[in-house]
């Protein structure tokens, strides 16, 4: 399974699925991370975590432990 974490900084992917259930999944979909959205890793925080992603024209900070639930094509 390829996740957002497999993207290098500056690389882009298309969301295939969010794993898990409940608050995290809901939060992701509310922020626009849904099936078919294109998502780009823009930056990794200076201490290595969290990561910054770009989607729908805005920037989002996501922890690595959460980002691994976002599967991409």
């Amino acid at each position: 399974m390829r996740t957002v974490l497999d993207l290098k900084t500056g690389e882009q992917g298309i969301v295939r699925r969010i794993h898990g259930r409940g608050p995290l999944k809901r939060r992701f979909s509310d922020m626009g991370i849904t099936k078919g959205t294109s998502i780009k890793v823009t930056k990794i925080a200076p201490l290595g975590d969290p990561i910054q992603v770009n989607l729908l024209g805005y920037e989002l900070s996501v922890r690595k432990e959460d980002a691994c639930e976002i599967e991409i094509e």
Binding site: R17, I18, R21, G22, P23, L24, K25, R26, R27, F28, S29, D30, M31, G32, T34, K35, G36, T37, K43, I44, A45, P46, L47, G48, D49, P50, Q52, L56, G57, Y58, E59, L60, S61, V62, R63, D66
Partner: protein
């Protein structure tokens, strides 16, 4: 006819600016019931019948985050007459997601497309007509910052309120889901309209299919319905909630081309360029250190403290206290009236007002950091370190400011969004040694530890360790277990804060401090002043010269035994601990009085004249002095800080918990330290040593026990 208008929108969409513009910044600020999320209410200008309620900034009406639940409950239970949905026109796709949910409630909605000036500036084009047609709701283009389009907005709101034209937006879903919605809608026909709170049946049907926790609390699913949903989700290969969310974004994406034309889709925004430097892997930390240095320098080292000293010494000390004392003496008032007015009341009020200049400078800097968008970057940079202790990256600022003074430090925790993190920060900030505790540290280091260089660093280390230990221990308890909402945070565009916005924020926060914290500080200062200045003698209750005769000394003597296991079970130390509650500076000055030291004790400490302080020094051993210091560093802070905590924690129950926790923490570790110090210096093992070992083991247990299963996750599993 009076109408209630709710203002809803994403965080960073300019909601606060619009609220201030519409109400002329004359708002009633309070809290939403039971939580410390701010609630603002005000009347819309140029209309005498529109009352505006500011809902918390939200991305969705999901049932998980506190803000979302507040907004939802409000829409559901209070059902406003009109909703103004403010939308950031430069970030339409994400903002309109909330719009799809708002118009579904059926409540008449006016969509306010904010930041239209930026859209025009970039040469882009927004087709309001098409947007309005899609949602079946009026759309007004505004710039809240510049005040453009507000008249049109107000008249659209009036129109919507009087015509009561409900919106009939329907999100189109796939055939399978649509069939199931129709089925549940039909089954809801027997449910009383009270239970539906005026929401359309389709709204409930969607929520129930999403297995929305809060909706299920109102209307539970039958086991037959549950089985049908399971079958549906099996078929869709995903849960209904995700399918509906995806459909919402798809429906927006489908109209984007017709409502928004972007002149240059690949331009690098100013924010991107700033972020290339500010959160750069190498430069991020140095820049952060520089910004923090500036915040500290301006609020603690220079302007803020200068202002506070001026108010304390000149305004309160010379003018108010000096003036009133002279006046009362001339009028021939009795000594106790003068004492009560000058030392009790004015001293107490002064203790509150004295913090204001420092607070105002700090609030000014904080609101610049927040409004510019840098605060979110701080959380991004520091998240990795702070989340381990149940704190937010934004907890750094309260702790840093806390080294100067806990009061503004605790107030700075207001910038933290998550309630659990904010509570944790408010409770632990005063563990960091503040400026007022420095004389105690300096005295014990100099007089008893012969000025050892490592002494002061150890005190700060103790403070930081207390924060970390408390973070880990409290995080495992029920009250902190959890905001189930994960840390998925928007990094908003950088914006230049406006003068007006910054000033308003400073004013609101300063006023809130005076109002809420002020009462506690004032009352407790007066009570303690009385206990300290008066004693019971053969002539009744009279003012006493010698502190040893005061009521406080009697109380101190009566409970001093409590501190015997800690090594300082005498009335002098106990009284100093109590007066320290007014302000920690009082600890040393009380010592000076009760031990009869000549001269200004703080100046003697600064000059390092330990021989003049021998009367105090002789009273302690190295172990008992350090134990006393530990207790002073960790126990309940001064009344002003307790007042600030009360303001941030929101209710008396939490404030009591915080004070009890801090005092228990201080007692435990002073006890452990002193008893182990006794054992290591060759004293025999006593029952008290055994107690100290048990207490130590108990803290180890609290620290290392397994985290109980998170409530949030548990709930989800059981649905």
């Amino acid at each position: 006819m009076k109408y209630t208008i709710a203002l809803a929108g994403n965080p960073n969409s300019g909601k606060t600016t619009l609220f201030n513009q519409l109400t002329g910044a004359r708002a009633h600020v309070g809290n939403w019931p039971g939580v410390t999320v701010e609630k603002k209410e005000g009347s819309i200008l140029r209309s005498d019948n529109l009352n505006l309620i500011d809902l918390p900034g939200i991305y969705s009406l999901s049932p998980y985050t506190l803000e979302e639940v507040i907004a939802r409950n409000y829409l559901l239970k209070e059902r406003p007459d009109v909703i103004i949905n403010i939308v950031d026109a430069t970030n339409l796709e994400r903002n309109l997601y909330l719009t799809t949910q708002i118009v579904e409630t059926g409540i008449p909605t006016v969509i306010a497309c904010n930041m239209i000036d930026l859209v025009n500036q970039a040469g882009d084009y927004l087709n309001s007509k098409a947007l309005s047609a899609h949602f079946g709701a009026p759309v007004v283009e505004i710039s809240a910052l510049r005040g453009d389009g507000l008249d049109e907005l107000v008249s659209a709101v009036k129109e919507a309120a009087s015509s009561r034209r409900e919106s009939h937006y329907v999100l189109h879903l796939s055939k399978e889901v649509e069939a199931e919605i129709k089925q549940v809608e039909k089954e809801l026909e027997t449910t009383s309209s009270d239970k539906l709170h005026g929401m359309p049946r389709r709204w409930w049907a969607q929520k129930l299919l999403e297995q929305d926790e809060k909706a299920l609390e109102e209307i539970p699913l039958s086991s037959e319905q549950k089985a049908r949903i399971d079958a549906l989700e099996e078929k869709l290969d995903d849960d209904v909630q995700s399918v509906i969310s995806t459909a919402r974004f798809k429906s927006i994406a489908a109209i984007m081309d017709s409502i928004y034309t972007c002149k240059n889709p690949h331009r690098l925004s100013l924010s991107d360029r700033i972020d290339k430097i500010v959160t750069n892997r190498i430069l991020a930390l140095p820049i952060f250190v520089l910004v923090m240095f500036l915040v500290y320098y301006l609020s603690i080292s220079t302007i803020g403290t200068l202002g506070t000293d001026y108010v304390n010494d000149v305004v309160v000390g010379e003018w108010a206290q000096g003036g009133v004392e002279a006046l009362l003496t001339n009028l021939g008032a009795s000594d106790w009236i003068i004492g009560l007015t000058v030392d009790g009341v004015i001293g107490g009020v002064g203790a509150v007002l004295g913090f204001l200049p420092q607070m105002a400078v700090l609030f000014l800097l904080l609101s610049i950091l927040e409004l510019s968008g840098y605060m979110a970057r701080i959380a991004f940079i520091l998240d990795r370190i702070f989340r381990k202790f149940g704190l937010s990256g934004k907890s750094f600022i309260p702790m840093l400011i806390g080294t100067g003074c806990s009061v503004p430090g605790i107030m700075a925790s207001r910038t933290i969004e998550q309630e659990a993190d904010r509570r944790m920060t408010a409770i632990t900030t005063s563990f960091v040694p503040c400026g007022a505790k420095l004389p105690i540290i300096a005295f014990i280091a100099g007089a008893l530890f012969s000025g050892a260089w490592w002494f002061a660093p150890i005190c700060y280390f103790v403070g930081v360790a207390a924060v970390i230990v408390s973070g880990i221990v409290l995080k495992k308890t029920r009250g902190f277990a959890g905001d189930p909402a994960p840390f998925v945070m928007e990094l908003p565009e950088y914006r230049l804060p406006t003068f007006k916005g910054v000033l308003l924020s400073v004013w609101e926060r300063s006023f809130a401090f005076v109002k809420k914290a002020g009462t506690i500080i004032l009352l407790s200062s007066i009570v303690l002043w009385f206990l300290q200045a008066y004693g019971v003698t053969s002539q009744g209750i009279v003012a006493v010269e010698d502190a040893g005769d005061s009521i406080l000394a009697v109380i101190g003597g009566a409970i001093a035994w409590l501190f015997i296991p800690l090594g300082f079970g005498d009335w002098q130390s106990t009284v100093a601990t109590f007066t320290g509650l007014i302000a920690k500076e009082n600890v040393m000055s009380t010592f000076a009085i009760v031990f009869g030291v000549q001269g200004d004790v703080l100046e003697l400490i600064e000059a390092g004249e330990w021989s003049s302080l021998a009367a105090i020094t002789q009273h302690y051993t190295m172990s008992s002095a350090f134990s006393f210091l530990l207790f002073q560093l960790l126990c309940a802070p001064c009344f002003a800080a307790i007042g600030a905590m009360h303001r941030e924690l929101g209710n008396a129950k939490w404030t009591l918990f915080a004070v009890a926790y801090q005092t228990a923490f201080a007692y435990s570790f002073s006890l452990i330290y002193y008893q182990f110090a006794l054992l290591f210096s060759g004293n025999p093992f006593t029952p008290v040593s055994a107690v100290a070992i048990v207490v130590l083991l108990a803290w180890f247990y609290l620290l290392f026990r397994k985290k109980p299963i998170e409530q949030g996750k548990l709930q989800v599993e059981s649905v």
